[in-house]
């Protein structure tokens, strides 16, 4: 946390080297996350760049006592994704069911199942299971109380499991356990 505080101060003072290092370490991860929230194509890359650009040009809002800088940047990224959907609500309705379908096909059955969750549930599970954010960080990123984080994590896991079972019953291949 102390490192994050120092890094944040350097970013706020316009230290481009510090920010570039932070970008290098975190942009690929953020983009990987956003690719599951946005349609295939350029949207995730755009949202990733917008996130870092916003952080670089208007560095404010990060509170080290509430979580890591990485969690903070994922929070901005998630808002960018939500903004994207708001802006494209009318014109992309037909595209929405095809979110990352191509990606799901190249990955795994679980990847395919994961794509069927709601954007909120995908965000929550990804940030917890893959990025390893803590309850308090998730609470900060998703702007919900910690207790709600726990209950929604349970709901997301249960939904993922339900879809997985449905897919299995429908003839999908299940990984051996």
């Amino acid at each position: 946390m102390a490192d994050d505080r120092e890094l944040w101060e350097r970013i706020c003072s316009g230290d481009s080297r510090a920010f570039e290092a932070f970008y290098r370490d975190n942009a690929p991860r953020l983009q990987n996350f956003l690719r599951h929230l946005l349609p295939a194509g350029q949207a995730a890359e755009d949202a990733t760049q917008d996130t870092f650009l916003q952080m670089w040009r208007r560095p404010n809002g990060f509170r080290p006592e509430r979580g890591s800088l990485r969690a903070y940047v994922f929070g901005i990224g998630r808002k960018r994704a939500a903004e994207w959907w708001r802006q494209h609500q009318g014109e992309n309705q037909l595209e929405r069911p095809q979110i990352s379908k191509e990606r799901a096909e190249i990955n795994s059955l679980v990847g395919d199942v994961f794509e069927r969750l709601s954007v909120e549930q995908k965000s929550l599970l990804w940030l917890r299971e893959v990025e390893g954010l803590s309850y308090s960080e998730l609470s900060e990123v998703l702007e919900i109380p910690t207790g709600t984080v726990k209950s929604r994590l349970f709901a997301a896991r249960e939904e993922l499991r339900r879809i997985w079972h449905d897919k299995e019953r429908a003839g999908g291949k299940r990984n051996e356990m």
Partner: protein, 391 residues
């Protein structure tokens, strides 16, 4: 307690949260809850695997202006994003990966345990990537796909088996298929899987171009790694030379839950330590990462340790992944094993026969004590061991 009430606590278990004792007891004795726990763990591990397959994301190289709030950075003028040539991007990405993860890329030798690979479509886009053991170990899955990618004029589907490692080269068994026009991904995968396998040799550090009839060529690149990339673990897996036991730990035989332990746990060296689990009525199961005399071979995968002893199969199920990937373990059953000051464990076990327990210890003490016990005439683990007085 009912399963519906316990379900949310199963999710909490996955998080490493403490849960009420009555809930732990219910989960430990309820097949439905155990299955839920197992599936939550499995799905979480699969998500992390999915992320690792896509861990090399494309992020354009940008130059950050030293005075961000006074003037716009050059790349932002006129457009909100910047595109760079693929070749330049590939170089940048390699540099980022090397610098940020601190990975040492070297040719295959006994030190290089991992192979990082990427598969690219004909015009350069990343299709899939991953990190697998550099050589077959008899247990790890070194098989990718089939997976497919839809392009404007058709679908390319690929399946790769990393068959063998020889003289620093990976022997690949590859199936490919280009299907012009529209076709579903699953159908393309099925058809690709039915294709004859081609054998090709891939030298990590170099690019392998694989021609596909009617399509062009896909490219495979990759490097050997000495260490598992830190960013792949993301804190969810233990260090690669370690096993990690996160409670609750359930001991099952067949479809029966024998016992469970809901506290303790820890991370231990595969080479230097052992893990011991006590199940009432069964005795101790001594588990180590390397072979030791009298032990049988078992497997570790995800959050499960499986082994067969004396005609029975056992499963130890833990609350989180024990390791990244798969591995063998060696297991010995001692019905009346005792931990003493002469045979210390890290958490001195005061196991009573009626209570489940687990502990960790130094494998050299294990070996020494087993030899002593053998000298006392107790050569078979099944033999009644002389009880060693506890101090």
């Amino acid at each position: 307690m009912k399963c519906e009430e316990a379900a949310q606590l199963v999710s909490a278990l996955c998080e490493g949260d403490r849960i009420p004792p009555d809930a732990a007891r219910h989960i430990g004795s309820c097949n439905e809850c155990l299955r839920r726990l197992q599936e939550y763990c499995f799905l979480g591990a699969e998500l992390r695997r999915l992320a690792s397959l896509n861990s090399t994301e494309e992020s354009p190289k940008v130059s950050w202006n030293a005075e961000p709030r006074r003037r716009e950075s050059w790349w932002h003028k006129g457009t909100r994003t910047m595109r760079i040539p693929r070749a330049a991007f590939a170089l940048m990405l390699a540099a980022i990966t090397t610098l940020s993860a601190g990975i040492m890329f070297v040719r295959a030798n006994e030190k290089n345990k991992w192979l990082y690979f990427e598969v690219h479509a004909r015009s350069g886009p990343h299709m899939v990537s991953g990190t697998i053991p550099a050589a077959p170990d008899g247990i790890s899955d070194r098989h990718i796909g089939p997976f497919s990618r839809k392009e404007g004029d058709g679908t390319i589907a690929i399946e790769i088996n990393f068959r063998d490692l020889n003289a620093g080269m990976e022997k690949l068994g590859i199936r490919t298929l280009w299907i012009p026009g529209r076709v579903g991904g699953e159908k393309a995968n099925e058809q690709a899987h039915a294709q004859p396998e081609r054998e090709l040799w891939f030298t990590p550090g170099e690019m392998l171009s694989i021609p596909v009839e009617g399509y062009g060529a896909i490219e495979v690149t990759g490097e050997f790694l000495e260490k598992l990339p830190e960013d792949l673990r993301t804190g969810m897996y233990p260090r690669e030379e370690s096993f990690r036991i996160v409670p609750p730990v359930f001991c099952l035989s067949g479809d029966r839950v024998l016992s469970s332990v809901d506290d303790g746990g820890g991370e231990f060296s595969r080479a230097e330590h052992y893990f011991a689990y006590h199940s009432p009525g069964e005795g101790w199961f001594l588990i180590a990462g390397n072979p030791f005399e009298g032990a049988v071979r078992g497997t570790v995968r995800w959050n499960q340790i499986k082994f067969s002893l004396e005609g029975r199969t056992y499963l130890l199920l833990t609350g989180a992944p024990i390791l990244y990937g798969e591995s063998f373990v060696w297991v010995m059953h001692h019905p009346q094993f005792q931990f003493t000051q002469e045979f210390p464990s890290y958490y001195f076990a005061q196991a009573r026969e009626a209570e489940p327990d687990m502990t960790f210890g130094d494998v050299k003490h294990l070996t020494e004590t087993l030899l002593q016990l053998k000298g006392m005439g107790a050569s078979s683990p099944r033999a009644t061991m002389p009880r060693v007085a506890t101090h």
